[in-house]
């Protein structure tokens, strides 16, 4: 008989084929789809997250584990009504206008996804207007903006101001990050938080939505 521990372990080792096999076996045995996700797939990613934080796992291992988790979720998803799908929260993520640095932002996105967040990646070079338009369209819980340049980080303030004008700031938390960003700067522009790397960005989101 397939069990949750086996599923978690397969997620931790990033064994995609095995995750699919065990997930399918659990489905066939009639186990509750939500339990498969929460007690098997997400539980496995929880261990991965903790190990990454302790320096026991590396970025590619985390991403491979996350990929295997998603493969499992895809099998279960059709069995669950979409409003019942567990999600830690919805995050809209993008690099601000004029800035083309994106690897850091993408790592933040992957880490968030791996911890159960739904991430909408708005890409690079995103203007304030675009951010606001995306917010209206996707209704995220959190807006996460990345800037690696002192010249472009000003765009963060513009976006927050525009959100206020449009009455969106109260509904959406704003977090920011990137090399020239600091806690002081986050306070200055009225963001709800700053995190120095991808792992702490996840913690920050968890805190803000708790």
């Amino acid at each position: 008989m397939a069990n949750f521990e086996e599923l978690s372990k397969s997620v931790i080792s990033g064994n995609l084929a095995k995750v699919k096999k065990v997930t399918q076996a659990l489905i066939d045995e009639g186990v509750s789809p939500l339990d498969i996700i929460n007690l098997g797939l997400i539980a496995g990613m929880g261990v991965v997250g903790a190990r990454f934080k302790n320096g026991e796992m590396y970025v590619p291992e985390v991403l491979v584990a996350a990929r295997s988790m998603r493969a499992g979720i895809e099998l279960v998803q059709p069995l669950i009504a979409s409003e019942d799908m567990p999600s830690a929260g919805k995050v809209l993520l993008g690099t601000v206008k004029g800035d083309l640095h994106d690897i850091g932002k993408n790592l933040v996105g992957m880490m968030l996804e791996s911890r159960g967040y739904t991430v909408i990646n708005a890409g690079i070079d995103v203007s304030s207007e675009k951010f606001v338009q995306f917010i209206k369209e996707h209704k995220p819980d959190i807006l996460a903006m990345s800037a690696l340049l002192t010249t472009t980080m000003l765009g963060m303030k513009d976006t927050i101001e525009l959100m206020k004008e449009e009455g969106l700031k109260d509904q959406v938390k704003v977090i920011i990050g990137g090399a020239p960003i600091s806690n002081d700067f986050a306070d200055e522009v009225g963001a709800d938080g700053f995190a120095p790397d991808a792992a702490s960005a996840v913690d920050l989101c968890n805190r803000l939505l708790a």
Binding site: Y58, P60, K97, G98, I103, L107, T152, L154
Partner: protein
């Protein structure tokens, strides 16, 4: 008397990562990637230039036929000289196996040498940094060591250049925000040199642009590269790639990715103006898989750049390397280890123009104590590459005979005549413990910091003529900022 014929001698230590055959293999692989995969150009004029030259243009994607790359490698100027800004004297021969060292640009933060506080870089901090670079004998040129942030940010590059040119006569590598900034800086440099032609004849500035890895030549970078080519000014084009992030995880894959981007830039520069002086750059390193930093202290950084130096020598084009930097957040043992390894290895590799001395905290915070320490490391590293000179005089048989068993070489003329070949440290401690204790039991970093303060308080750079300084001020004051990404 001895006679020697058909004799091979080394005048320096030697180091190679790649053989000639391997260099060729890497370059051919890059040519393949430039053609098969291609790279993207975001600037309309660049796309037109490349299309006209025979490259295959499909939207932004440009595929460069190998013969065009090979032609560009032939036409670019191999002999590149950077000059003194006050006298025009030809100082740095950025070519062959010459290795020069200087600081890095644009750190958002810096550490104040008087208060030890980490804060955003300012006009003052860039001025101080330039003064320190000016005073140190082993530092060959200046980059800003900070992005000026106590001024309107979109014109910070003009303020940066003003602080640099006021505080040093050494060559300056200038990193501008965009093409408008670069145009203003060139204007200022022409004022200092005495005209456009004078600047081209004896350039004391070197321009700088970066592709966005993997494989994108953004608007600013492409425009700056084309402008540099048209002006005939040396231009560095430097991919900053990380294995496992913006390049393959394998070191050979990093080389191919970086070369593909650099050589695509070379093609653009040569198609914009045949013969334009082009400097192939590189910050090739790893994405640290635990912390996700772009590492400035990883051994792979030194290894990859020594490999790139081999390729640059093979291609006979000038190269821009990286050394004297650290991931450490303060100047401690880690900083010393990382700076020393990188400087020693880079110097041995013969990479031509090496930057980022003084970077700490993985390239986000400049630190002048580290610059002073690096100056000392450079003295040592250059002693290593000076090698051991072997001839009748240095074999010293005469003096060995004269002093004889049980004698003393210290008071011999031969000793006095040759003592200068050896490195005399200016910073590291070699004193006996008691003497060191009496002098305050200072660590290297403390001594370096005292030197930084002393330079800032007392060193006087050769001033710019007053009228030139005034005209430069005028350009800075009238500078107009452009929002990033804006065209035309």
């Amino acid at each position: 008397m001895t006679t020697r014929t058909n004799f091979k001698a080394y005048s320096s230590t030697m180091m190679k990562v790649f053989s000639q055959d391997q260099c060729q293999e890497l370059v051919l692989a890059a040519e393949e990637a430039m053609w098969r995969t291609g790279t993207d150009f975001y600037d309309k004029e660049s796309l037109e230039i490349l299309k006209k030259a025979g490259c295959w243009v499909d939207g932004k994607r440009v595929r460069i036929p190998a013969h065009i790359t090979e032609q560009a490698l032939k036409t670019c100027q191999k002999h590149v000289v950077l000059c003194n800004s006050r006298t025009g004297a030809r100082e740095l021969f950025v070519e062959g196996n010459n290795a020069y060292f200087g600081s890095g640009p644009c750190t958002p933060f810096t550490r104040n040498p008087f208060t030890n506080e980490r804060h955003r870089a300012t006009r003052q901090s860039v001025g101080w940094a330039t003064k320190v670079l000016d005073a140190l004998p082993n530092i060959d040129y200046a980059m800003s060591l900070g992005i000026v942030q106590d001024v309107p940010l979109l014109i910070s590059d003009r303020h940066e250049f003003e602080q640099q040119i006021l505080n040093t006569d050494k060559p300056i590598i200038t990193v501008c925000v965009d093409a408008w900034g670069q145009a203003d800086v060139i204007k200022m440099a022409e004022l200092v040199a005495g005209g456009e032609e004078e600047l081209r004849k004896n350039p004391f500035i070197c321009l700088y642009a970066e592709p966005i890895s993997p494989g994108i030549h953004c608007l600013e970078a492409a425009q700056k590269l084309v402008m540099g080519a048209k002006k005939g000014l040396p231009t560095i084009y430097t991919p900053c790639i990380m294995a496992g992030g913006t390049a393959p995880a394998t070191m050979a894959g990093v080389m191919v990715q970086g070369l593909c981007e650099s050589l695509s830039g070379l093609v653009l520069s040569q198609c914009a103006r045949e013969g334009a002086p082009f400097i192939m750059g590189g910050v090739y390193t790893v994405l640290d898989m635990k912390t996700t930093i772009f590492s400035y202290g990883a051994p792979e950084l030194h290894l990859l750049l020594a490999g790139l130096a081999d390729v640059a020598h093979y291609l006979n084009i000038p190269m821009f390397g990286t050394a004297g930097c650290t991931d450490s957040c303060v100047i401690d043992e880690q900083a010393g280890i990382e700076a020393a390894l990188s400087i020693a290895m880079t110097n041995m590799s013969g990479a031509n123009l090496n930057h980022d001395t003084g970077y700490s905290e993985y390239g986000t915070t400049s630190n002048l104590d580290l610059v002073v320490i690096a100056d000392e490391i450079l003295g040592m590293a250059r002693r290593l590459t000076k090698g051991i000179h072997v001839d009748q005089e240095t074999l010293a048989l005469e003096v060995i005979e004269k002093v004889g068993p049980g004698g003393n070489f210290a008071d011999e003329d031969h000793t006095l005549e040759h003592i200068e070949e050896n490195y005399a440290p200016r910073l590291v401690n070699r004193a006996a413990r008691n003497i060191w204790e009496k002098a305050g039991s200072k660590t290297l970093t403390q001594v370096a910091n005292e030197k930084v303060r002393d330079i800032i308080n007392h060193h006087e750079p050769i001033p710019l003529p007053k009228d030139v300084a005034a005209k430069i001020r005028e350009i800075v004051e009238n500078a107009v900022g452009h929002v990033p990404g804006e065209d035309e």
